[in-house]
Structure formats: C-alpha cells, structure tokens
C-alpha cells in the first residue's frame, strides 16, 4: 500500500514528461477522447447511483486494526495536524460559514458504520468508522443541498470533490473515529471523509475546508487521469 504512495508520487512528478504514444494527455486526440469518455462515465455512474441503496455492512469483529495507511506520500513524510490550532473552514454556497473547532464537531451526533474499503488498485479491507454524517453537517450549516458539488481541502494538499447525491448518502461520514477510538494521525486526524459508496482515493483525510459549489472542483488524482465519480 505504501508502494502505491511511492510509486504514484514518483509517477505524478514524472507524469507530464513521461507521456508516450499510448498515454493520456489532454493534448493528444486519444487523450482527449479518453477523458471525454471518462466524463461520460461520470454521468453513467451518477445515473447508476441509488441514493437509497446501502453498502453491505459487517460485524465489528471484522474491523482491521489499525486500518491501512494509504496516501500519495510515504508514511515517513506524514505531517500530523495540531488539534489545538486546527479549524474546519467553510466556503461557497453555505449560509453559516463560521469555522468549526474539533470540540464543536465532537459534540455532533455520531453515526458508526463498518464497511468495506475498496481501493482503485484492487485491494480491500473492512473498516469501522464513526462521526457525524456529512448530510447532517451540511444541513446544520445551511448548505445549498441542490448544489452540484461538495469540495474538500486538506492539510496534505489533496484537493477532492464529490457529487451532492453521494454527500447526502446515509453512509457518508465526516469520520472522527476508527474502531471506536479517536482517529490516529496517519489516518486523517482530526477529520476525514469516509464514504461506503466510493473508491478509497475519493476519501480525503486531514480535512481543513469544505466548499459547496456548482463549479467542477476536480481533485488530486483526477487531475492525473483517475475518474472523477469513482463510485462503487
């Protein structure tokens, strides 16, 4: 899993210079066509997404402890977030944009889900996540729930964004705990997104800002060619 971080970090640096004939660059006609189909697949996935369909859940005994570390960087490069100074900023189509502290978020009603994490690479594990639902949070701050996107900024410079339908899904949490304990630093402390209906790379960790918007926000891997919707 760390291999992926190293591999992808390296490749992301080299990606712009290592493009060959069969590669996906916006500048080639093949690359343009493939990206066009990927956008089309976003729409197909949005149509396939059933907002009432729940992902399978599992008994707490199946939870993997600790979860797998996975990021675009190696765990040795991890920069923990200081909870004392950390704030969650809000932006965009949100009525009450006052920032939130970790203590305020901890006071919100908590939901727990034990779900399968599936990585775009092909590996998976069962994880147990707790925290307020993103839906309840968005409702609480008066977000425009008819907007198209919810975008995230993170302490590890890993911008990400999701569709509003998934943001409102009952298995979409702003996770603060794993397996009943506070999130550890490598897994996104103090706040990370955890969705049962999307691939692993769609779940940003160490969130510092949430924006509700109608402008396509993209994301870290998406800008390197991964599909945006990334639905399961």
């Amino acid at each position: 899993m760390q291999r992926r971080g190293l591999l992808r970090g390296g490749l992301s640096l080299g990606a712009l210079t290592m493009l060959t004939g069969c590669d996906v660059s916006d500048s080639t006609s093949v690359g343009k066509a493939l990206n066009w189909v990927s956008r089309w697949n976003d729409r197909v996935q949005a149509a396939l997404f059933d907002p009432n369909k729940l992902a399978p859940t599992y008994p707490a005994s199946m939870i993997l402890k600790p979860p797998k570390f996975n990021a675009y960087f190696d765990i040795t490069q991890l920069k923990p977030v200081d909870a004392q100074t950390w704030k969650l900023e809000l932006a965009g189509l949100i009525a009450d944009k006052r920032p939130w502290t970790a203590a305020q978020i901890a006071a919100l009603p908590v939901r727990t889900m034990v779900i399968r994490h599936i990585c775009v690479e092909g590996w998976d594990y069962i994880g147990g996540w707790s925290g307020p639902t993103l839906r309840s949070f968005l409702e609480r701050v008066g977000a425009d729930l008819s907007a198209k996107y919810v975008a995230f900024k993170t302490a590890d410079d890993y911008p990400s964004s999701i569709d509003m339908a998934t943001a409102l899904h009952p298995q979409t949490l702003l996770a603060t705990q794993y397996a009943g304990e506070a999130l550890a630093d490598p897994f996104g402390f103090p706040l990370r997104l955890r969705m049962a209906t999307k691939l692993g790379y769609k779940n940003p960790k160490w969130i510092t800002a949430i924006e509700v918007t109608n402008r396509y926000p993209g994301g870290y891997w998406e800008s390197l060619g991964e599909n945006w919707f990334g639905g399961l």
Binding site: R4, C22, V24, L34, V37, N41, I118, C119, G122, E226
Partner: protein, 223 residues
C-alpha cells in the same frame, strides 16, 4: 485454399439470387470491432492487474500493457468496455435473430468432438468446407462467447460492487470476483492464441473473415 474461395465466387453467377456469403458484412464488421475492443480490454486490464496483483510475484511486462500506469489503463478499460459491450450485444442479438448461432454452433456432438480433437493433435486440419464448423470449433466459439458475457457480468460487479452488491455476494465476494474476472480473461486469451494460430494454419479462414468467404449453397443455408 484461395482457389476454394475463387471457385465458389464464380459458381454462383445468378446475380438476382446470390446466396449470402459465409460471413456477411455485418458479421465481419462486428468480428473486427470485437477484436480491437478485446485487445484493448485485455492489455489495459493487464495494466490494472499489475497495480495490485492477485498472484504474488506475477506481473505483465510493461511492453504488453496499454497505459503507462494504472490511471491511463483504467481510462482505456472503461472506454473500450462500451465498444465491447455494445458490439457484443449487437452480435448476440444478430446471432439469435438470424439463427446463425443455432445454424453454425449447434449441436455439438461428443463423438465428433473426440474425433476432431484426435485429428488436431496429429496436426490434421481438414477444413475444406469453411461453411461447416467442426465440433472443436463449435465448442471453442460457444465457450468464448460465454466467456465474453462472463467478463461483462464480473466486470460490472468489480466496477460497482455496492450498486450490484447482491451479484458480488452471489459470486463469492469482491476478491473472488476479481479472480473470476481474471480467469475469464485467461480463457479468452487462451482462445485467442488457438484462434489466431489456426487461422494462420488455414489462411482461407482468415481471408473469409476479411472478404466474406464462399457463398453458401442453399442446402448449407437450410441445415
């Protein structure tokens, strides 16, 4: 072998009642579309496989992969899937509606199968009449058509394991479906090797899939 085609071309000289060719234009178009789609799906699939292998220590060499790393391989895979599925669906509808499947691929008789297998093992390839498939051919074509359908179904399950969670459970879970998708690919690649090798051993079959092949005699059409 080429003379066989030429001969049959000239046999039917009545323009108004021209019998259909062994491979009508539609079949040829779908065959080569499928060939392109399959090769893209297989080679991009190898790129995706290499990102997290099922069998420890196995990798497909980069030279055989479509896409320099997983993301472009995925883009190729999820683009060519439309070509494969839509073309495959058209082929299944065509084969069923026109009766081509029933006519060419069925029945498969056990004793014929054994006999043809025996002949093949001794490198005796008797394929003078291209319009009649032997039992081994029939079996291979049926298996590869089923494998193609299998790949679409297991592929959908891997792509959308939450939306199709019941299907994933039926197939034994997420990692099981990955393995099943891999096995489906292996069957198709195995077919491809035999299929291409045989078409090169009996080149008239290859020309038939390009030019259409001999015109069918009325009796051949009816059986």
């Amino acid at each position: 072998m080429n003379s066989v085609i030429g001969e049959n071309l000239t046999v039917d000289s009545e323009p108004a009642r021209k019998a259909p060719r062994l491979h009508p234009l539609g079949v040829r178009f779908m065959h080569w579309t499928n060939a392109v789609a399959m090769i893209i799906m297989i080679t991009s699939g190898w790129g995706i496989y290499d990102d997290y292998v099922i069998f420890h220590g196995t990798h497909f060499p980069p030279a055989l992969r479509l896409g320099s790393w997983a993301a472009p391989s995925l883009l190729w895979h999820f683009a060519a899937m439309w070509l494969l599925a839509l073309n495959g669906l058209a082929y299944l509808v065509y084969g069923t509606v026109t009766g081509r499947f029933k006519q060419r691929l069925l029945p498969i008789r056990w004793h014929e199968l054994m006999q043809t297998l025996g002949d093949s093992l001794h490198f005796r390839f008797t394929h003078e009449d291209l319009t009649v498939y032997n039992a081994v051919q029939k079996l291979l074509y049926v298996v590869v058509i089923l494998a193609g359908i299998w790949q679409v179904l297991t592929g959908l399950a891997i792509w959308k394991p939450v939306q199709f969670s019941a299907e994933v459970a039926l197939l034994g879970g997420f990692q099981a479906v990955r393995l099943e998708h891999f096995i489906g690919m292996s069957i198709i690649v195995g077919f491809l090797i035999v299929h291409v090798a045989l078409s090169l051993l009996v080149p008239s079959t290859l020309w038939a899939m390009i030019g259409g092949g001999p015109r069918l005699r009325r009796t051949a059409v009816r059986t």
